[in-house]
Amino acid sequence: MSVESLFPRLEPLLPSVSKPIQYVGGELNATVKDWDSVAVRWALMYPDAYEVGLPNQGVQILYEILNEQDWILAERTYAVFPDMEAVLREHGISQFTVDAHRPIGAFDVLGVSFSTELGYTNLLTALDLAGIPLHSTDRTDDHPIVLVGGHASFNPEPVADFIDAAVLGDGEEIVLAISDLIREFREEGSPGGRDELLRRLAASGGVYVPKFYDVDYDDAGFIEAIMPNRAGVPERVAKHTLMDLDAWPYPRNPLVPLAETVHERFSVEIFRGCTRGCRFCQAGMITRPVRERSLQGIGKMIDNGLAKTGLDEVGLLSLSSADHSEIGEIATQLADRYDGTNTSLSLPSTRVDAFNITLANEFSRNGRRSGLTFAPEGGSERLRRVINKMVSEDDLIRTVAAAYSHGWRQVKLYFMCGLPTETDEDVMQIGALAKRVIDTGREVSGRKDIRCTVSIGGFVPKPHTPFQWAGQLGHEATDERLRKLRESVQSDKKYGRAIGFRYHDGKPGTVEGLLSRGDRRVGRIIEAVWRDGGRFDGWSEHFSYDRWATMAEQALADEPVDLDWYTTRERGADEILPWDHLDSGLDKDWLWEDWQDALADDPVEIEDCRWTPCFDCGVCPAMDTDIQMGPTGQKLIPLSVV
C-alpha cells in the first residue's frame, strides 16, 4: 500500500504561512525513496522549528545511517509553526515529512530527538495533527511506535504516557538493531501485534518501554518502587555507547537547507563525551567516556563535508573542543590546508584553561575573527570549586589580556545563577570580574572600544548529575539576585556600555526544572498545558509561565506534591529518583559522594580521568567501555589536487 504525497494539497496553502520554504524539503543531499521498496520506515522528528532542527547532528546522522540500508527509509519532520498548525487543522492535513510529504502516521517508527525538555508540547501537536492518539495505551497496530532519544530521554518519565519507547545514549547502532527487530517481527506475520513488538524491544535490553514498568508512590508522594511488570524485561535499561568514532564518519552527506537555520556551518564532532567533571553538566555525565576522532579522521570529514555542502565555516564540535589531545595540530594543519580559501574554523566550546592565543590565531587565520567566548559559569572561585570547574580569576584575566592584546575587542563570558550554595556575594563577583576584564583590556590594548558581554542562564538541576539532588533556586530569587548584579554593573559610569548584560527571566528555568526531574505525574501537566494552547516552550514569544503554573496546580490538585516539590526541594540520599531504573553507567553512590564533596566547607575538586587516575564514576566497567584518545602523531592527508 503506497502512501501519497500531501504536497499537492499543501502547495496552494503555503503562500499564506510564514517562511514556507521550511515545509518544502528539496535540500541538497536529502533522500527520497520509493515507499514500497523497503521493509521498515522511520519518520525522524526534531520537535522544534525547522530552522533549529535541521542542523541537529543527531537527526542528520541517524537519517543517513538508516537511509544507507536499502531496506529502510527515513524521512524528517519538524514542529510546524502555530500559523501552519492552524492551516493544517482547517484543511484536515496531517503532520507530514519534508522529504516526500508523507503523513507521519503511516511510518513504522516515529523517532523523536529530545535535546531539551521544552519540546514536549511540540510532540503532542505532531501526534495530534497526525491522528496518532496522544496516549500510548490508546494506540493500535496501525499507529507508529513513538520512540524518543536525545539527552532528555535519560529521564523520559514526564512523557512516559505519550511515548511507546525510549533509547538512552548514542543512537547509531541501536536504530539499526531496532529496524532489524521490526523487520523480523513483520516477516513472522506480526504475531501478538503492537504489544508483542514492544515486549521484544524491551526484552532486547536496549530499549526502555515505560508501560512495562510500574511506579508506586507512598502517601507523601515519594516514589516507593519502580518495578518491571512483565517477565523478561530488564530491571534497569542501559545507555548505548558508540566506540571508535573514526568508523562512523557521519554526516557523510550533510543536508544543505535552502532556508536560513541557526547554524550555517559544517560541524564535525571531534570527540564525544567529557570527563572534566563539572557537577552541573548533564551532557558531560551521560556521554562518558571520552572518545576522540583522530586528526586524520577529522581531516577527511571536513574535506568531504566542505566539498559536498559548499559551506564556508567549519565547526569543531564537542563538549570542550580545546581539550582534544591534538587540538593544536588540528588547528595549525587545517589553517594551512585552507589558507586562502576564505574558509573559517570555529571552536564553539572552549575552556579558559585549555585556550591559548596560538590556537585562537590559527582559528581566525583564514576567515572571520568573531568574538571569543568563555564559560567560567561561577562568579567566585569558591563557587567554581563547588561546581568543579576550577578556573582561577588570574588565569581568566591572563587569557583575556592575551586576547585583547592580539586584536580581539570582544569577549563573551557565560555564567549560571542559582548554583548550589550560591549567595548574593558569589553573583556580585560576576560584575567585579567583568570590570576587571574591561580594565585589563583597556590597559593592554590602549583602546577604549573594549567590550565584554556577560550572559547568564539560570541553573537547572539535571538527572544523572551530582546536582540531581539539589534544590533549584526559585525564579523570584534568581531574578532578584540578577537585578542586584545588573544594578551594580550599570551604576558604575566608568564602564558604561563596555559591559553588556544578557539575561532572560528565571521562569522558563522553573518549568525546565519541572520537566527535567519530573516523574510520570508531570505528564498530566504537559497534556493540560498543550490542551490550553502551549506550544514552542523554548521560544520566549510563545512560552507562558502562568499557564504552566496554573496547569500544574490543577493537574496536581489531588496529589501531595506540587511545582515546588519538583523544583526547589532538595532531595535526600535515600529517595528513589524517577530515573533510577535508567542506567547511565554512573554509580549512584559516586554521584552522591561527589554531591557531598561539592557541599563541603572546603569543596573537594576532582581531576579529569584523561590525565589522572580513574576516579571510579562507574561508567567504563558498567558499560564495558574505555577512554579512546590520542595523540596519534598523524599529519593530515594532503587534499587531492582538483
Binding site: F7, E11, P12, L13, L14, P15, S16, P20, I21, V24, G25, G26, E27, L28, V256, L258, A259, E260, E264, L306, A307, K308, T309, G310, L311, D312, N342, G367, R368, R369, V642
Partner: protein
C-alpha cells in the same frame, strides 16, 4: 544584498586584513526558480548560490576585511512564492573562465528547481539598468474568465489604479496601472491566466498587486494565483527583451 547596493568594483586594499585577489572577469547569469523551490526567498537563494559557487570550485572574488564576502551582485529579485524563468545576477571572478563551463558547473551544484539558464561575459554598464520591465504569467485557478475579461478592460481603460500594500516604509498606495505596459487574459488554457508586462519601478509592482487591481475591478478569483516571471529585460516597443544578448 540590496538590489543595487552591491557592486563588484573597488581595488583590493593590500593594507586591509585578508587581502584578496583582484577581479579579472565579470559574468552575468540568468537563472530560474521552478516548482516547489519558488518558495525560496531572495536571501535563501543567495545562500544557496554562494554554496553552489564553492561546491563548483569557481574562482569567486571576495571583499577584503575581517568578514570577506563573495563578489555577487543581485538585481531585482522576484518575490518569495513567485516562480521565475528570468532572474539575473553578476559575479566577479579572479580568473578568466569559459561562460558555458561556469553555467554547467553551477547548474550541477544547485538543487533541481534552481537552474542556471544562461551565462555571458558582462558588457559595460549596470545590469540593473537593463532590467526595465518584466513579463509575468499569472495562473489564476478557479477564476471566472468572463469577470476577468471585464476587469481587464476596465483596468486598461483607467488612468490610475492604486492598491494598498505594506512596505518597509509602512502602508503605501501603489499605482499599478502606471506600471503595466500591457495586459491580456489567456482564456484558452485549462487554468485561466493573465499575461502582463510590468515596468520595473520603486516600489516594485508585483504580480499580486496586478491580481489585486483586477479583483478591485470585479474579477472573481477563487483559487491561489501562481505567478511566473517569463522574461525580464530592456523594454523595446512594449516587448521585454533579453538583457544578456542585446
Amino acid at each position: 544584498m540590496t538590489d543595487r547596493g552591491t557592486t563588484l568594483e573597488g581595488t583590493p586594499n593590500p593594507e586591509a586584513p585578508n587581502p584578496q585577489l583582484p577581479i579579472v572577469q565579470k559574468l552575468r547569469l540568468r537563472y530560474a526558480k521552478r516548482g516547489r523551490l519558488r518558495f525560496t526567498s531572495h536571501r535563501d537563494f543567495g545562500r544557496a548560490f554562494e554554496r553552489a559557487i564553492r561546491r563548483a570550485g569557481l574562482p569567486i572574488g571576495h571583499s577584503s576585511g575581517f568578514s570577506p564576502h563573495p563578489k555577487i551582485s543581485y538585481a531585482n529579485a522576484a518575490p518569495t512564492g513567485a516562480a521565475s524563468e528570468a532572474e539575473y545576477l553578476e559575479i566577479g571572478l579572479t580568473r578568466v573562465c569559459d561562460p558555458a563551463e561556469v553555467q554547467a558547473a553551477l547548474d550541477a551544484s544547485l538543487p533541481p528547481g534552481l537552474d542556471i539558464v544562461d551565462v555571458v561575459v558582462a558588457e559595460p554598464g549596470a545590469l540593473a539598468d537593463l532590467l526595465e520591465a518584466s513579463r509575468w504569467s499569472i495562473a489564476l485557478p478557479e477564476a471566472d474568465v468572463a469577470s476577468l475579461q471585464v476587469a481587464a478592460e476596465a483596468f486598461l481603460a483607467a488612468e490610475t489604479v492604486t492598491v494598498e500594500r505594506m512596505t518597509k516604509r509602512g502602508l503605501r498606495d501603489i499605482d499599478v496601472r502606471g506600471a503595466v505596459v500591457s495586459l491580456t487574459v489567456e482564456a484558452g488554457c485549462e487554468t485561466p491566466a493573465v499575461s502582463a508586462v510590468v515596468r520595473t519601478m520603486v516600489p516594485t509592482v508585483r504580480p499580486d498587486d496586478v491580481v489585486g487591481a483586477l479583483r478591485a475591478h470585479g474579477a472573481v478569483v477563487a483559487g491561489v494565483p501562481v505567478s511566473t516571471r517569463a522574461a525580464q529585460g530592456p523594454l523595446v516597443d512594449g516587448v521585454v527583451g533579453d538583457p544578456l544578448r542585446t
